[in-house]
Subunit: 852 residues, 2 copies
């Protein structure tokens, strides 16, 4: 026979599907011997039967519920409806999936005209009893009888006005009696019946109301958005009420088993004497530090400390507990894993591992990769933040905190920085022309653009704080003003502060806290490195980038973009001469120039990286960037990447000479074994790759033969067109390695360019047409499918082919897990994202081993 | 035991792999009792063993060869090396795959000092015998001994000069003796040995030489280009020589079993008395019409007529035969399926089917779809073409033939046409601005661009003759001149003629033959319609297009591009107002205007099409076409297609109202059952489709409900982004039909835009980096793989979902066969390509049933 109702001592935390999360947790706490007010859970199956039977609860179920009420009366020694010793209960919904605020709760159920007076006698406070009763009436009216809350508020506020009472507490017992009468009248008028005095009737009606709330409009919408199935139903928890407001021997509080800000191992929390839980949350009275409880309730405090230890051992994580003391007796109402700051997350993870409470694999899963970003950048002082309201909010596009004078053009920003000012660059959106201004600024604020807009990507690459897409501001570069939707206008030279961790913008200068890379951090990262299987390389185009990458723990360079070596004015001129000149001599001279500086740059890069792998990509220029009058209407789909290498092989020869020449010289000078990896971009067929590869191989072999130094090298390619992915078997047959270029691959798979489609993508994400921005986190259903297919095909023809992924996605934890699960060799991301990527890689390894 | 050598009466045409094509055909002809000079074939396996054994021929094989020589001596009554009755043979290569001109042949083998005199006695012509001997010596020296031909030519030409002889025939027997002596001396000097007098030695050396020719540089290169495997080897055919030049009772000729120009059923060919085969081909003497042979060789002629009938019955196709008469005896040397003109192909296919020689299914495979294009367009008179040399050659981009005065700008072309001139528009390449000029011209010639360039695609759409990519001309629009690489310059107003079937350009005016759509053509097309399973719809954007499509036999409209309804100046202004205006009233007015004319156009279109299916695609505009100052850097990957429908739903509402409104009115007026198919463009996810579909459905349902007419309609989508193909299961779940838009799909899968990549693709095809232009014929390995995947996925979620393919590829025979094999419902192409598409669809059906 199906069991419809479980007492708290009959369940456990594994029974979430049947008892809901709240019910399972209450059962678990009861099971490990905590002082939890007793009660029972009506299962989710009952909810489903309720809907199947068109809103009726069968008599078999009703019987089972009242059997449990019987048991509850025995355990508590209180009786439903007994004026001398009334049993009061809370009735709460609780589904398997958390649906915060979406469903309903009724407190103080069991009160009626008689038991209210009984409660008064029992607690010695008639005011408390009447206030509880009137709250119950309003809650019952609202939740169970669907009477608008405002009806009850009208009566209440009317009485307050009549009595000239400023606060609720100014109302006396007579007032409350008056209000109770008024509430009953509302119920009578709305429903045509009297308020049910019988607690059993109250209970069954409340249970049905909770079941109904499962299908309320807001709950249905929430489930739809969160993709929670509709047919799992909610459970109902019926629990004996306890009162922290029964006098000076009562109280209530919340406590963490460790400090959630610092991670320090000591009880941390707040406490209120003679109060109910909502008083702590509402902030009407200032709570006391938990330490004060040790003085006021020494026994209860000791009990709480013991329970905290027990809970940490049991749940093996920091606990966030709610408790109530009723007449000197401590009750635990809730416990859950505690939220914590990045710093605390790192410290508690390392401490717990060293205490032996968890293993290293578990420890590294306790810190979110995004938190790593925070720990490496400045933040605003928490106290400072409490004292100020933001003036605007945008997207937290690049972590950190920055204060400075605002400037509206790159030129102004550069000039101000040169005269020694600290600058925040404010733009509608940024473009490559703003680069110098971004370098000069300590932070960037834009009104448009998403998490992968130019400003966001470049700022993250520079490790610089950025708030992007702050649509509530309007920027006038002409007038040099920034106006907020909240009514403030800032002018050039005004100070603002921007928070790249939260997206908030503040007026003036806030105190900034500089990051301290703690021993704990280093320890945690070393554990991550032990556990991860995926290598983490850096996108780095210069020796300076490479040095930074090594500081952040990169295993190598996955993407050195040779076209970025040209991004300065003088070199650009050389490039234009090379591509545009029809004079062979001038062309040759330009080739020689380019070779010289590319080789010099690469030598420095190889020196920094030593024996670590370095992948150098041949030029992938958009012609439109070099030739302003290029006739290409869609340069992304134009004459770029390997296509230029095929039509202008002399450029490939020159680049190969620069790469191999640099490697040979560094090896000659230092003796370090270098195996350069030459990567051919944007191929769409094995035939294209073969043509370019032949040029590279002939050039490289010639150079190596001419030198007296032996050298191995690899020739691989990027998979960044859908066709390359679809024919990866043919491509892998002629390629030493393949690296997925997910930015172009996403653009072409979607048929949306990142630049043109940015705003569209933001709108799509907002309207939930896209689950995430596919330029920030890999689109698993489409692009991911293509990548998986390419890996499978590639390994069919070359089982152990080296595979990697480079580009902005390489720093995204979900993408990193995807790469790990596909057994790729490495991801490559910008240097600042490397620590988070290392952690994400380790977490993926742990999860895939089922150790999480 | 392996059989190394097959007599001609031991093989058959099925043994091509073993005997080579030539050997198998000789065996087949022998087998059906034709008078073929006897001989035998050394198998391809021997060739492979020759290479395995490092250029040696085993004694077992040699023995087998000489056994066959023994047999040949018995059959012919002639003996190898017997001066009284010498056996002479030809030694020819013959692989399974045809490799024309790539490999070597030795004739007259068996001649030596003795047998040459024997031959002289036997034929009564010592001059003939000595001439044959000197030819054999030179051929043996060249092919077998690798002595440069020029050495032999020096001796020959030296003698001619010494004798003041203008022609070869001026040399007498003494001269030939002198030359023979000289040739032998060359052989002695080059090889250090005497020329081998022993015919058996000659034979074995010649066989080895043929085997060696399999691996000559040119043969290896040819195989590589044609993707013929290298390890199959060549066979060697050894055949008794017959001589058509043995006197007035000898002769040689070629004949077709039916007229290859008209298809008329009568022997057609040419004949030369006392001549060898090469004399017919060389064109030194003017051959006689085959009818003359009936007078000169009445018995042989009757024999040839009988053989022609026999061969047609046997091969069930028109035969192209080579024959020789030696001293009154007819020998058949070769037969193969005869090449024929489009007109002849159609007539013979229909005739043969009606004669019962072949069935209808075979008949429709006898005409190439490309030939259908020719038959529907004017051609140049064949006699006229014989009398003129072309001045340039480009790509045959759109079939037909046109003569006219050349003009170099659209304006000039329009003006000239308006003043009554016939115009050929000559441009470097065309762009949309040239449209009026293209309309005004009767033909288009461009110096750049491939088979899918703007000029080519637009011309085909107009059914207008076009030669594109004529890179040997240079066009100066400024100077109004066209200069050819062959030295001619044409000025504005000069006459030229262009041939869209061949790509040739001629000076002046050529006689043009207008197409006559024969009863045979209609009969053949009706058979094709009976046999095909794939529907052929038209891309048509107006009632005029629709009428044309119906004339060409379209089953419906697969693609009506509503944006093309806007391609006139006035409507463009309305569209700009709609998209750019920020004034709601102006926007509404523009919407109403657009709805009015779209509805009117669609009404006319629906009226023309009646109950046939019509797919109307919602706007897919490139914003850059509407907004010249659009900031999109890659409009193809920008805010277009369904993306506009999502951000501007009022346009979708307006278009749905126009489509459904038009259909309702036409149904109301005519009673014809119309089921409009509304197609949503450029989706990349099911979510996008669902959003637009909701708008369409709500609008359509509202309109239908408001009318008193019932109407079904379908809502489907285009699969034209790779992501849509990859997630076709999700998309099919919410789509009534899917249609592959292969132009965009190709652009995005390759990451190459058609406009920007056109020249690159031409270069790739030329350099064989791409096998074909993927914008002309579907890229099976990449885009095709994606389409197959999408069909499979789509049918997983909706087993019987309607599928089609629309765009330029819809008219390509290979693509059509691909669609048939994928079990698609239809292809859609421009009206002019419909007949060829119908035929291609039928051929695909026949081939897939193994009836071909």
């Amino acid at each position: 026979m199906t069991k419809f109702v479980y007492s708290f001592n009959e369940g456990s935390r594994d029974m979430k599907q049947l008892l809901g999360t709240k019910g399972a947790n209450l059962a678990e706490m009861t099971g490990i011997g905590l002082p939890v007010p007793f009660g029972f859970t009506i299962t989710t199956q009952v909810c489903n039967r309720y809907y199947e039977e068109n809103g009726n609860i069968g008599s078999d179920i009703e019987e089972a519920i009242f059997e449990k009420i019987e048991e509850l009366q025995q355990v508590t020694g209180k009786v439903f409806g007994d004026a001398g010793n009334p049993l009061l209960v809370s009735v709460r919904s609780g589904a398997a999936a958390t649906m915060p605020g979406m469903m309903d709760t009724v407190l103080n159920l069991g009160l009626n005209d008689n038991t209210a007076e009984g409660l008064a006698a029992l607690t010695g406070s008639r005011r408390f009893a009447l206030d509880s009763y009137r709250r119950f009436l309003a809650m019952f009216g609202d939740v169970v009888l669907s009477i608008p809350k405002s009806e009850f508020e009208k009566v209440f506020d009317g009485r307050k006005e009549a009595k000239n009472a400023s606060f609720d507490v100014d109302l006396d017992e007579t007032d409350l009696e008056y209000i109770i009468g008024g509430y009953k009248e509302i119920i009578r008028n709305f429903t045509g019946s009297e308020f049910p005095q019988d607690p059993k009737v109250q209970l069954m009606e409340a249970v049905k109301a909770v079941f109904r709330s499962w299908n309320s409009d807001r709950a249905v919408l929430y489930r739809k958005l969160q993709k929670i199935p509709a047919d799992v139903g909610t459970a109902v928890n019926v629990q004996a009420m306890v009162f922290g407001n029964m006098g000076e021997k009562s109280g209530t509080g919340v406590a963490f088993t460790r400090d959630p800000s610092t991670g320090e191992k000591k009880l941390y929390g707040e406490f209120l004497v003679n109060a109910q839980g909502e008083d702590v949350v509402a902030g009407v009275r200032t709570p006391l530090n938990i330490d004060k409880m040790a003085e006021a309730f020494p026994e209860n405090y000791k009990g709480l400390v013991r329970i905290a230890e027990l809970l940490e051992k049991h749940y093996k994580d920091v606990q966030d507990m709610e408790f109530t003391i009723e007449n000197g007796k401590l009750y635990m109402l809730q416990t859950r894993n505690g939220k914590r700051t990045a710093q605390a997350a790192i410290k508690t993870a390392v401490d717990m591992a060293e205490e032996g409470l968890i293993d290293k694999a578990t420890a590294i899963t306790r810190v979110a990769p995004e938190q790593i970003d925070q720990i490496l950048h400045p933040t605003f002082d928490a106290m400072a933040l409490k004292k100020i309201r933001p003036v605007a909010k945008g997207l937290p596009a690049s972590p950190g905190a920055a204060c400075g004078k605002i400037y509206f053009t790159a030129e102004d920003a550069v000039a101000a920085a040169e005269s020694g000012e600290t600058v925040i660059l404010v733009r509608d959106e940024t473009s490559p022309e703003d680069l110098a201004g971004m370098v000069a600024a300590c932070g960037i604020l834009t009104a448009r653009g998403g998490m992968t807009s130019h400003a966001a990507v470049v700022a993250r690459g520079m490790g610089k704080c950025c708030v992007a897409g702050c649509s509530s501001i309007s920027v006038s570069a002409g007038a040099r003003t920034l106006a907020t939707a909240w009514g403030r206008t800032f002018r050039q030279g005004d100070y603002i502060s921007i928070d790249g961790n939260t997206g908030f913008v503040y007026e003036g200068i806030l105190t900034t806290v500089m990051p301290v890379v703690s021993d704990n951090f280093n320890k945690l990262m070393s554990w991550a490195d032990e556990l991860r299987e995926l290598k983490v390389r850096a996108n780095a185009d210069s020796a300076a980038d490479a040095r930074l990458a090594l500081e952040f723990g990169a295993d190598g360079i996955g993407l050195c973009r040779t076209e970025r070596m040209l991004y300065n004015e003088k070199r650009m001129v050389t490039l234009k001469r090379l591509i545009l000149s029809e004079d062979e001599e001038e062309k040759s001279a330009a080739l020689a120039d380019m070779k010289a500086f590319q080789k010099q740059d690469l030598k420095e890069l190889f020196k920094v990286m030593g024996e670590r792998p370095v992948t150098v990509r041949l030029l992938d220029l958009l012609l439109s960037k070099v030739l302003p009058y290029s006739r290409e209407t869609n340069p992304l789909l134009g004459h770029r990447g390997c296509r230029l290498a095929i039509t202008d092989p002399e450029i490939t020869v020159m680049q190969t000479e620069a790469i191999i020449g640099a490697a040979l010289e560094v090896k000659g000078e230092t003796g370090v074994e270098i195996v350069p990896e030459i990567m051919i971009p944007l191929i769409s067929s094995a035939a294209e790759l073969s043509v370019v590869k032949k040029t590279v191989r002939e050039t490289a072999d010639r150079l190596i033969e001419q030198s007296d130094i032996s050298m191995d090298y690899l020739i691989g390619t990027m998979i960044e067109t859908p066709r390359a992915a679809l024919t990866a078997d043919e491509i892998a047959a002629v390629s030493d390695f393949i690296s997925f270029g997910t930015n172009d691959l996403t653009q072409m798979t979607y048929g949306i360019s990142h630049d043109d489609g940015g705003r569209l993508v933001s709108e799509y994400v907002r309207r939930e047409i896209m689950p995430v921005d596919p330029f920030a986190s890999l689109d698993m259903a489409g692009v991911g499918k293509l990548i998986k297919m390419a890996c499978d095909l590639g390994r069919q023809s070359r089982a152990r082919i080296k595979t990697g992924l480079c580009g902005e996605h390489g720093g995204d934890p979900a993408t990193i897990e995807f790469c790990h699960n596909l057994d790729m060799g490495y991801v490559s991301c910008s240097p600042y994202r490397i620590p988070a990527a290392r952690l994400a890689a380790a977490q993926a390894a742990v999860r895939s081993q089922g150790q999480d």
